[in-house]
Symmetry: D2
Subunit: 256 residues, 4 copies
């Protein structure tokens, strides 16, 4: 029997408590709502964590036992400890999947994996977002048609300060006149990374069926194939080499 | 008249002083040797900097006035200040070119732009390196034939922990049986990044004509087209939007 | 003195003669209008060719002497001879640049270089097109701001049946609700290919300054660095090989 | 119960009959040997086809019912009918997987999907090939370690005239001093394409466990997610458009 995929949904869980409107939309918290619909997939073992827990909820061996991490953050990126970010970063490069949502574009972990500004245009207003499916063959878009619409969302616009994605999955159209690469993948080390745009806290995007479908698909797609710890080995030759007159001397040097 | 390209060649300049053999190969320092052959190109204004200078030689407005930075480091990556790395990183994303040489694969600046381990296999021995030109059309390979050889070099082998390059330029063959993606480019923000493998301190690679040709080509290729400071602007709509009943309220919130 | 870049602008030149409205917009023909503004660049030697000329205007040694070919076709793709398409294809792989405009997405030459359907959604209506600059650092976007608008254009929408571009340059927003990857580059062999969306024959897009700027930039960007004829050589070993007991026999076989 | 993956292994089946040495290595034919080890995977329904069958063995509805096609050809690429190549091409773009082996780099179907020369260096001699795993996370490399060796193989060397792969999987080292991108993937439309280098007819590579493992992995990886027939639809607007005074006239035009 195959073991299940262990998923952790991480949320800031601040807006929901500070702003009654957000709390009314997400009474379980954003992380709780996402965990809720992921749990309908019997192949996923889903738990949650949030900023104000000890070690931001990701202490002990939690990360070591996580296959896919889902990340939502917005107003408190700087409060996430650098030590945790380094551990998540290492886990992704070893093989853990990472699904970054919405304002998570500015999270420390996403920026450290991209190596770029991750900046964008934005506007909180009354835009409709129409998300076009650019990759109908991709596992992440299965069950999604040519496009779907979110009736009201924060606008994110280009240019988006990311490295060229390995795969461009979605492009968004906004009423106010902008476009955005709203779904994209990157391989980083042995781990898969997916960024997905929707999910401003004042709109109910995570209650929408298509958004849920994409996130479930993405979590399944991001499951690890391997776990490879980092190493930078001194490797003996596989073929005969010419004699090395300085071999003895070298063996005592040991840079690196 | 076009202004010249301002190039800074940065070196650790430690091996050359600590190890007489290295000092004998590079009496000007590795950075000095590289600057020397770059200066033969009349379009380049070349200066140098090294680790043990104040601010590692890159204080004041030096970086602000640099078009292309060439980086060689090896045993002292950790001594480079995080503050300087952040400034170089910002400058690359704005548009500055960066040419990273050899053991610079493990420099803070290269790792922060790649977002990955940048690890590899290695061996100091008697390998010959044959560098195959995979991209004969590319500006970086002009004047280089199908391949060239370095009679003795440190071996670097795959897997190399980098994100998929935007352009793969060179692949190396080593006597001992390994291969390596020894020349590759990445666009990061508005800046161009080129990694080039050769240049172990105990071998005279930077005195070899083909290696020099590649580095001159790379510096020319990496010149900025633009300089775009980072911004993440709140952007007004370009098309009419539905009325926003909460507009007044929003205007007092000001997240971000 | 550097020799100039030899540019040939190819047009179908059918709509302009058959439809008085199109003829009124492009009295020089679409190809003639494009050639006209390219000629303002003193580094370009510009000529034109069209479908109903002998050999479609590209006979003799014209292609052999062309550095960059600009292609506009629409209703007569099938009339372009396969022999000519094969010659253009070979020239691109050798190093010639190719700029494909608008309905040229369905030309034989573009499809043969892409290897895909090159299909898309379309609508002739009253859409405005807003073209967003996704690559502010790229030579093709210099002088273009964050975006520019074409007041009325045919709509092209996703999904667009192309291989993932090497560089995504522009994404278009249309009034009717669609998005499109409207500027993209591909390296094919030693030649550069740029596809640019605008230019339906019933609208005056090629009279618009921003469209002209992009095409001039693209032609300059697409200039060859090399000219490498195709070969698939039997190559002697560069390193000693074990004895080959069947060497004599092999030398008489000569497959391939 | 999920339906099985329907795999067709296509071979030229000429060398095996014309050359007793090849026949002795592959008494089932190359296609038969490959089919044989694929059949050990209970999820695969495997059949074979070859050049000298009517319709090259791919007539009727065979292709319509094929999920993944494996292709080995060498001396008779030109004998494969253009009509069949067009049908295979269409099926790949709809979603069928394609695994191209060894000298299939010069097959009509591979060249038409790549759009490039697909040329390379080659030598029939006594080279050993060491195939390095560049993508340890990839489904195609599971069960393969850092590298594996083929004791004797035809050499293929760079430059290899392909478009930049979507994913570079393997790089080969040859005794005689060359390197080669020996495993690579491309998405073409809705179909996955994998090229894998080994398999010269005079060597027993397809009897080797690692080669078999890679091919089984590749066939599983290449399975379709969707089947999307080509279309280029005239699409009504999704958002209100300005009035179109020429709408009636347009409706009678119907280019395209």
């Amino acid at each position: 029997m195959l073991s299940n995929t262990r998923v952790v949904v991480w949320g800031e869980f601040r807006h929901e408590k500070a702003d009654p409107k957000v709390g009314a939309i997400y009474p379980l918290g954003i992380h709780g709502t996402i965990a809720d619909f992921l749990r309908r997939d019997p192949d996923l073992d889903v738990s949650t964590a949030w900023l104000d827990q000890p070690d931001h909820g990701l202490g002990g061996d939690v990360l070591e036992k996580t296959d896919v991490l889902v990340w939502w953050g917005h107003i408190a990126h700087r409060e996430v400890s650098d030590e945790l970010v380094a551990r998540i970063h290492r886990r992704v490069l070893e093989g853990m999947g990472l699904v970054v949502l919405h304002s998570g574009h500015y999270s420390k972990i996403f920026k450290s994996l991209m190596g770029t500004t991750c900046s964008l245009k934005w506007r909180e207003s009354t835009d409709k977002e129409r998300i076009w499916n650019i990759a109908p063959h991709h596992p992440i878009t299965q069950g999604i048609g040519d496009y779907f619409e979110i009736p009201a969302e924060e606008m994110y616009g280009e240019p988006f300060g990311i490295p060229a994605p390995d795969e461009l999955i979605f492009i968004s159209w906004f009423t106010g006149g902008e476009v955005f690469r709203s779904g994209a993948t990157w391989q980083r080390g042995n781990g898969k990374v997916f960024y997905f745009r929707p999910g401003h806290e004042t709109y109910p995007a995570y209650h929408q069926a298509e958004v849920q479908k994409v996130i479930v698909n993405a979590v399944r797609w991001a499951r690890p194939t391997v776990r490879v710890p980092d190493s930078c080995p001194n490797s003996p030759a596989l073929e005969p080499l010419p004699e090395d007159p300085e071999a003895a001397e070298r063996s005592t040097m040991g840079f690196r």
